[in-house]
Symmetry: C2
Amino acid sequence: MALIVQKYGGTSVGDFDRIRNVAGRIARTFDKGNQVVVILSAMSGVTDKLINTAEQITEFPDKREMDVLLSTGEQTTVALMAMTLKSMGYKAKSLLGYQAEILTDSQSCSARILDIGATRLTELLAENHIVIVAGFQGCDAAGDITTLGRGGSDTSAVAVASGVGADQCEIYTDVDGVYTADPNICKKARKLDQISYDEMLEMASLGAKVLQIRSVEFAMKYNVPIHVRSSFNEEVGTMVVSEDANMEKVIVSGVTHNKNEARITLKKVPDTPGIASRILSPVSEAGIIVDMIIQNTRSGHMTDLTFTVGKTDYKAAMDVSKKTAKEINAEEVLGDENIAKISVIGVGMRSHYGVAAKMFTTLAAENINILMISTSEIRISCVIEEKYTELAVQSLHTAFGLDQE
Amino acid sequence: MALIVQKYGGTSVGDFDRIRNVAGRIARTFDKGNQVVVILSAMSGVTDKLINTAEQITEFPDKREMDVLLSTGEQTTVALMAMTLKSMGYKAKSLLGYQAEILTDSQSCSARILDIGATRLTELLAENHIVIVAGFQGCDAAGDITTLGRGGSDTSAVAVASGVGADQCEIYTDVDGVYTADPNICKKARKLDQISYDEMLEMASLGAKVLQIRSVEFAMKYNVPIHVRSSFNEEVGTMVVSEDANMEKVIVSGVTHNKNEARITLKKVPDTPGIASRILSPVSEAGIIVDMIIQNTRSGHMTDLTFTVGKTDYKAAMDVSKKTAKEINAEEVLGDENIAKISVIGVGMRSHYGVAAKMFTTLAAENINILMISTSEIRISCVIEEKYTELAVQSLHTAFGLDQE
């Protein structure tokens, strides 16, 4: 007998048939003698619909009230799921965020979990109930409803798993697990049996949409093993776990790509101390997050500064940069939306040399020009022209021995 | 400055324009220097839609989970209303049932309010907030969401008004107030300036659909003055208040009619002790509420027993009665769906004679035959043939001096 937390996303509970299907899966897990806690998202599309409703009232809806409104989405699914299980003859009860004692800070619409009480939850489990907890929502110290931001139900699941001391936290999604690369552009991508929290964090922040970043941070902090798997079949997925010695033997675990960035270059700016701050401060003051930053030395007292931002912020960042360029007498501002960031990720890099060299050689062999480079302890990223994305991912996947047999 | 509780029903917040309209009314009340607490129902149609959703899952949805589901309706309206007021520049916050500390028993789907805490509510008022409270919902001692049954938001409003010690509880609805008769069938009906709790209770239970019965009981118990008025205009409506000496001067305050009952007669049943119980117990065991009961003495040891039930229960009551009739050897069972119950109501009856006589004389003068009679301290009801309903109401309205000048 184990204590298992299962999380099902919006597509898995998207209509009545799917709710019944998930109920069947929950029942089978329970019938095997396990204690089961289930975390649910809102039915797919519901959250967007609620946001749209609020925006019909006012362009900038009050965030506290937005949380009250949005939390009805998960409230609806947990009630329907508990009804379904009851009608199948199981003892089941729904709990909302405040009832499951998911205590958060007061940051409406993007609250962070501070603590999990789980008194009631543990009581209900002891009484042999299947407990259905509303994901994405919590409450602050004042008793106000808060929500955790997009994908927050993953974090709810990991937090509840740590709160009740679950043996496993299963995240059910519409993919089979975590892959060595996006199977849509790399036919030879393999599903990983396991991956470390650190690697998963790099993957998540680089565009693999499997798990919310914060849920991985939370799992790492409280050492909660996550099992990412599909709700549409019974296959074993990918375990996201603490790093162990074995993992270091694999140098590269995956290749990711991200087409959602754009690049801005200010040419021939005066190479004086503080020039990067002079250029980038106005950008961050405009609420724009800068990802990579590179400063090239040029001849004389001039330098080029290049940085990348999300594509949705590109226009605003260009406007700000053109204004700055005028003020500091830069020669010109160049922009490029047709770029992609390709990364290789692996905890094994820490103890192996030559990964960067191999990456550059592989790209060069395909005549792919590298526009920017950045690295972390377990990751190397190159910005290239967008049109080479697929070719770059495929050739790196092969070069690092990731192709399936 | 006064502390005013306002309650708006589902049609008053039925769409975005109406929500904005109600927000304007709330704002005007606040701008006059009043403290304002608002109780809202779900947008019209929403509760029925949610019930329908649950019934697609299972024929008999779990009642605890039904409450979790249904309470999302009011949760949505309070969030939208608070957003609207915030966007207009007012300090406003929504509170759900448990946040407003509306403590109920654990009777899911028809809970009764036990107590109102109102700590948070009072704090928010002191901070100059307009507080928007979700009607229809509360929570039990275990922290589970409960709902109060159809029309429960009226009761929420009266309970909150008593909890915060409001000066007035305004119930906004789609009619102008309480009338001396239904204006749809009696053109000379007048809006009453005031009516006593006792009279309102008789009116409410006899088919005037202005206020939920329990809200009136609650108001009477805690002496909360209710102002029933329209949300579509600025007219003063009807005050529902404690009886005072002046009220007794008016002998009859109103004439009501109810076409929603049907009559069942068991003819020639043995006139033995306990025969009424023998006939009516099986009816109530079938979950059917019996209204009027009349036993006529006949010659010999035989009697006729007649009773009325709601029209929706008529078929079931007939089936049960036919079975009983066979068992006790009654001669036959007669049924009649074409009846109406006409009542005259007034606290003045207590101290005046001749009201019943005047009622019978008036009906007789119109050749309307009386089929059944029942009375209470402040009410006389006659069952007549349904086709005479309008004529009976109009002639009684005139006879008791209720016609407008």
